[in-house]
């Protein structure tokens, strides 16, 4: 069989009803998701026996515990994003395609019945007509970035086990609804439980990348199965980095004083406000502090830019950050 191109492959996501029990792409709940790339892999550190037996090379190999690990990169499309965010460390509210995700304190990934409860997902990847099924998957990290004007997300996936799918499904596709260069705005305001961002969008941001890291770890346990038993979560680290036109020292002084700020990235289609948009993505750090702020004279012909990183902080009476989606699927 000749080698195939990546473009001929496809990826399915299906919510699990039991954690770690694989749901094939032939299931009615499975959705084919258009992606840019994936690198999901069976990850194992085999045991090599270092026996001392008059030789300086390992003597044997035994399979060891394994889990699934890799990235899935895709353009942000509200038609599909909630399927992945529901499999991360969030509490979900909303209905009918409009959802709000706030970070939860779950110690490990879980699957429970109900449309708005977190669920692990089964991911099926078909590479050159050959299926790879991954069960018990969660998004251990999520990164949102504006790349060439397009809002892109990358998920760091951790999963429990791999299987060979019986059927590969027949993927169906819809027209993409992407957030392009004219869709985005970044806002900065004083931190608060519900920042108003009344001053309008900031015009100084050159790029924006937000990273949500739940420090997820695959947990293997002693049992007659080498696959991971579940995925645990650790500290939630929500950060962002960007580059700003350096026009005054206001934000620099906020950095030195560790003043907290609210920051919002908003991407809209079909309307100029979140309320009026038909498809929308909004990530708000309700309270954050600048972690680094670097500005210098790079060169004779270089713009003076400040390279900035920030970190979300907890806030009394509200979530440290929220993700809002409009135009999503009706989760079931």
């Amino acid at each position: 069989m000749p080698a195939g191109l990546g473009g001929g492959g496809y990826l399915y996501v299906a919510p699990e009803t039991t954690l770690g029990t694989y749901v094939p792409p032939t299931d009615a709940s499975a959705v084919a998701v258009p992606i840019l790339s994936e690198s999901l892999a069976y990850t194992e550190s085999k045991y090599y026996s270092p026996q001392i037996r008059q030789q300086t090379i390992v003597s044997d190999v035994r399979p060891s515990y394994y889990h699934i690990e890799g990235d899935v990169r895709m353009e942000v499309d509200a038609q599909f994003l909630p399927l992945f965010l529901r499999a991360s460390r969030h509490t979900i509210t909303g209905a009918a395609g409009a959802y709000t995700f706030v970070p939860s304190q779950a110690g490990s990934a879980s699957t429970a019945s109900g449309a708005l409860t977190p669920k692990t997902v089964s991911i099926t990847v078909v590479r050159d007509g050959i299926g790879f099924g991954y069960a018990g998957c969660v998004m251990g990290t999520t990164e949102f970035t504006i790349d060439n004007g397009i809002l892109i997300c990358s998920f760091g996936v951790l999963g429990c086990s791999e299987t060979t799918p019986g059927g590969l499904g027949t993927p169906v596709w819809v027209d993409p609804i992407l957030f392009g260069a004219d869709s985005h705005s970044v806002y900065v305001d004083a931190s608060g439980t519900a920042p108003a961002f009344a001053g309008g969008p900031s015009l100084d941001f050159n790029g924006f990348t937000a990273n949500l890291n739940y420090n997820a770890t695959a947990q293997n346990r002693i049992r007659a199965d080498r696959s991971a038993s579940y995925i645990s979560f650790g500290e939630t680290e929500a950060t962002y980095n960007t580059e700003l036109d350096f026009v005054d020292k206001a934000e620099y002084d906020n950095f030195k004083a560790a003043s907290t700020r609210a920051v919002r990235l908003e991407s809209l289609r079909g309307g100029s406000t979140f309320a009026g948009a038909t498809s929308a993505f909004q990530l708000t750090f309700n309270r954050s502090a600048y972690d680094t702020y670097t500005v210098g004279l790079g060169g004779m012909a270089d713009l003076i830019m400040a390279t900035v990183t920030g970190r979300a902080l907890g806030i009394a009476g509200a979530a440290p950050y929220t993700i809002k989606i409009k135009g999503g699927p009706t989760l079931a």
Binding site: T26, G169, W173
Partner: protein
């Protein structure tokens, strides 16, 4: 009646156009295939429409196919053997120990 393809996909709203193997079908609706659509489908997928979707629970195919078995063999490309495979020569002869030829 020609083949009709219908789909019920919970991830998308009712009547949302969905590309089902190259055929545009409204969600929770159906599309009747023309002869040309069916032939193109078979040529693309290498199987009949019913065969491709037989294991898919939310896609139904009803009606009578217009592409027959003999038509299918004309539409589906055969696997062609590679005629450019180099021939391996088993050269076990000793090299000529002689010097330069005059």
């Amino acid at each position: 009646m020609a083949l009709t393809v219908s789909i019920e996909h919970d991830n998308f709203p009712k009547d949302h156009p969905i590309d089902v193997g190259g055929i545009l079908v409204p969600n929770y609706g159906s599309t009747e295939l023309t002869d040309e659509q069916e032939q193109l489908f078979v040529a693309t997928h290498g199987k009949s429409v019913k065969d491709v979707f037989k294991d898919t629970t939310n896609i139904k195919v009803e009606g009578k196919a217009t592409v027959s078995g003999s038509d299918m063999s004309e539409l589906v490309p055969e696997t062609v053997s590679d005629t450019n495979t180099p021939t391996v020569v088993d050269d076990t002869s000793e090299p000529d120990p002689g010097g330069e030829k005059e």
